[in-house]
Amino acid sequence: EAGVAQSPRYKIIEKRQSVAFWCNPISGHATLYWYQQILGQGPKLLIQFQNNGVVDDSQLPKDRFSAERLKGVDSTLKIQPAKLEDSAVYLCASSLSRGLGTEAFFGQGTRLTVV
């Protein structure tokens, strides 16, 4: 079974530039998550999709971050403009559903450095 695919693996940008990350979840997984993991911290949920609808985006800085999941499969996360504090690993995860007993499968992540 193929895992969660993310690209790019690494990205270095200057502050105020924009950047986009792509995620392809495991086939058949209805739920997709984007997490931000700052060095030394646990993953912080940015946004959660159920199929192509947003379930939770309460911790997404909406003035600069946006995400979409067209057709309920692939997803993109965009930052515009980036700030220094956005330097982190951005993890995409997917699960079969939101229900009980569904584990999340994580991708390798995109390590973003903002200089």
Binding site: G40, Q41, G42, P43, L45, R98, G99, A104, F105, G109
Partner: protein, 112 residues
């Protein structure tokens, strides 16, 4: 809002020793998951606990969910170098169904 705290933040263990890491929630959880993240890697699911007082074992790892469903623990016996990594707990509540709040993790270092 819901907060999940893990202690200790760091755990240095001699190979062969046992240790326990703890996870405490400010609110009652509906279920809790544990993940392991190797250095430079991504979180990998270990287990999910649902019932009050539940205990599950995976070889040398023992997971427990508290009676009040506000805390959990992971106990590792006879630690091996392969146990190196950061262990995260992640909890969800009935009013935030499917939204898991991760703790800051316990970073485990094993010395031979």
């Amino acid at each position: 809002g819901q907060q999940v705290m893990q202690i200790p933040q760091y755990q240095h263990v001699q190979e062969g020793e046992d240790f326990t890491t703890y996870c405490n929630s400010s609110t009652t959880l509906s279920n809790i998951q544990w993940y392991k993240q190797r250095p430079g890697g991504h979180p990998v699911f270990l287990i999910q606990l649902v019932k009050s007082g539940e205990v599950k074992k995976q070889k040398r790892l023992t997971f427990q969910f508290g009676e009040a469903k506000k805390n959990s623990s992971l106990h590792i016996t006879a630690t091996q170098t392969t146990d190196v990594g950061t262990y995260f707990c992640a909890g969800t509540t009935t009013d935030s169904w499917g939204k898991f709040q991760f703790g800051a993790g316990t970073q485990v270092v094993v010395t031979p």
